[in-house]
Symmetry: C2
Subunit: 464 residues, 2 copies
């Protein structure tokens, strides 16, 4: 039987909410959210103690609904969940999001409830995401099974699989402020049925998703996950941040989502062999995701650092070296081009520290077309006191630091990663001017790790 | 002869600017800055090609000024610097900031200029900061030798020594946006005379400075630095981020400030033995600085993580373990207090994941007074969609996540470090509510490293 994740999880024709409530509590605003996003005529609510919610009639039981249902969202307390799932099966519901907590993450009684549901599901076509999760968000269709401001979510090309609901929801608030945009997000919780591999295989075939990002505390079926990631990583980069690495983290993961995390060394080997890119923190995870979602992959290990601050240039050189990247000499042509316009005090080397010479744009243009260079870390810097003079003079930032569109056209096959530091006006200007085109990352270490991952992934792809 | 750094570097009675200019170029707004900050009657400008600048008369030579000068700021091109320094010596000027670039960081001719100046200084009382630097900022006296918005600089207790001028200036823009506030900042550049050890010894005796932070690319005199840091670290924490660790970074540092960086292993040993705390990135440097500047040191290795997001709790547990910290069980009293108010699905463990139970404030109160716990990482989280409901209901964030003043009074001797993630409104709220009292750090890894450094520093202090 085909157990692949049905499309209706992400764009159901009809939705039922079991445990809909008038009181302000977990999940109570989901019906309102669905009504505002296209489900005026296809939403059904279930609660034996209510007659009407949000202007809709409320059914006593799921089986009372006089229409087929694609997706059921379950919000009832854990002990009532098995009987609701039984009704879903009876009604041939293909997709269920069980959001309630209180299962294996809390007690052995809770684990028994999961086991009971798993038994019910055997031999059926019903798939269940959860429990202890918030289900799915599909930005391209403005569909969500959880309370988020869908209006704020600009569709993107990063697909996210996260273990926990709260974390998933916070990512949804945080990511747009970082210029990160999602295609789909799934929080899988305790994974009594649907697991990370099911979601990965779904996103692998999803044409709105170019990069797959996972935050997990453990893998449910190591062999199946390995085979899936090995296959999928040929076509789409897979980035993983796995926590529960330490004994204290493992204990915490068990309490959090009932995850058995296993030894970290095994995961390390599994990820390496299957072509998965592993991040060491979640900021790094999303900085790497940003670079993969915006930039071409890097054809070689040779990076040029173009900077206004010598100190940040030295830091970038350290970070690149520590990731196995190289900072080669610039080609003679680049050196002579820049020597012509550079003041005497400026070193035309790599890192290329232009200081206050005003040659940043020319330097960037020269290095992105330098055949010695496979990728660039650009560090534009401008003290706000100088920025205010420049703004008064009507000078455009693009003329000082380079026109992003022009640079892309000049060099479509090299990744360009930006890092900056400064006051609030400068940061806002850089985000507006470059944030849409280039990958603005949150640290120099992450800039280097992202380029290193890009090169590693490309090299691996060439080998297979 | 006493070669310690004279106080007049940070609060001169009279200042001369040699190379003052009417044209908009490097340093040209320094006279205006000084006039706005108390030097209406004590500022002298020197430039043989000008008669008047900013309404002040301009002298042809430094020696023409009919008053003693405490501090001279030199902006002339490198080749002219030695003759200006000779005039400073003749005029018995105690403090000189040589901001010009074009010395040993560029060429052997530049290195010879430095050597020439060093010879001139022998046996004199004149001290020179630079070249290739921006000198000093003293926030408590609103004094600066470089163009910054002094109005934005709230005085603080962190003293900064940085190698490079641009980087120092950018820190000044960036730090207030991170809730970091400086006492004094010195950028030392090529260090032809004044070096990091001179500045360190000055800040050691400065009663406005509680924490000393260094960004360096190399140490000039290893033995002297070792002896100074060993002594000073008994009384004030010294935090260092050193770049130029890799071969590429070392080459870059030589081009940047003419620094010979040396083998990194030697520095590692030097820092450890002298009680210096070493950061591995500059974000980490400033997160640790923040914790030392706000928090009491930590008496033991036992941390409790209080969180709304289970995932972030697991990440924090990993980060703590990887830094040598422990997550002990909570004491029976704390468990019973919390069990009374916690819903059935909530695990009363460490990490203490309160989820959406609404018990964060009570949990924090219980753990800060738990004798098992030496320090706390608190992770308040609130999705913006829920935040807007709460704001409508008029609920105060302090009642949900704890009153910072109350927590400080309850437990004055335990560090409390905050980390959060979310949308822009939430981040702003957290900064306003907790940013002044607690240490809001930029990652969970840095939260753990800061607490680990705090414990290490305290243990070391007890041993000596």
């Amino acid at each position: 039987m085909d157990r692949s994740l049905p499309h209706v999880f992400f764009k159901p024709g009809t939705v039922a909410v079991v445990g809909a409530s008038k009181k302000a509590r977990f999940g109570s605003s989901i019906p309102g959210l669905l009504l505002r996003h296209g489900y005026q005529n296809n939403l059904y609510l279930v609660n034996p103690r209510e007659k009407e919610i949000n202007g809709l009639p409320v059914y006593t039981r799921l089986l009372d609904i006089p229409a087929p249902i694609d997706l059921v969202i379950i919000l009832v307390p854990a002990p009532q969940a098995p009987s609701v799932i039984a009704e879903c099966i009876e009604k041939n519901v293909p997709a269920v999001v069980l959001e309630s907590a209180g299962f294996s993450e809390v007690s052995s009684e809770g684990a028994l409830l999961e086991e009971e549901i798993r038994t019910l599901l055997q031999g059926t076509k019903t798939r269940v995401i959860g429990p202890n999760c918030l289900g799915v968000i599909n930005t391209h269709e403005s569909f969500s099974t959880t309370e988020v401001n869908l209006e704020n979510l600009r569709p993107g090309n990063i697909g996210i699989i996260a273990q926990s609901g709260t974390f998933g929801n916070i990512l949804v608030d945080w990511a747009p402020t970082q210029g990160l945009f999602f295609s789909k997000l799934v929080t899988i919780g305790n994974r009594l049925d649907v697991d990370e591999t099911d979601c990965l295989l779904y996103l692998a075939d999803d044409d709105k998703t170019d990069v797959i990002v996972l935050y997990i505390e453990g893998v449910k079926n190591g062999r199946r996950f390995y085979e899936a990631t090995r296959e999928v990583s040929r076509n789409k980069p897979i980035l993983i941040f796995k926590s529960g690495r330490s004994p204290a983290g493992r204990k915490a993961a068990a309490s959090h989502t009932g995850s058995l995390t296993g030894e970290d060394e095994l995961y390390e080997a599994l990820f390496r062999q299957s072509g998965v890119i592993r991040a060491t923190s979640f900021q790094e995870l999303f900085d790497i995701a940003r670079v993969f979602s915006h930039e071409p992959t890097m054809a070689g290990p040779r990076v040029c650092v173009v900077t206004v601050s010598g100190s940040l240039g030295v830091m970038a050189a350290d970070a690149c070296t520590e990731c196995g990247l190289e900072l080669p000499d610039l080609s003679p042509k680049t050196v002579s081009t820049l020597r012509e316009i550079a003041p005497a005090w400026m070193n035309v080397k790599n890192p290329l520290d232009v200081g206050p010479s005003g040659t940043f744009a020319a330097a960037l243009k020269a290095v992105v077309t330098d055949p010695q260079i496979n990728g660039v870390i650009a560090i534009p810097i401008l003290p706000e006191v100088i920025m205010s003079h420049i703004t008064e003079l009507g000078i455009d930032i693009r003329s000082m630091y380079g026109d992003p569109e022009e640079l892309r056209i000049l060099s479509p096959n090299k990744p360009i990663v930006l890092y900056t530091l400064g006051g609030p006006k400068w940061i806002e200007t850089i985000h507006k001017t470059y944030g849409q085109t280039f990958s603005l990352v949150s640290s120099l270490e992450n800039a280097a790790r992202a380029l290193s991952a890009s090169f590693w992934y490309r090299k691996l792809s060439m080998q297979r």
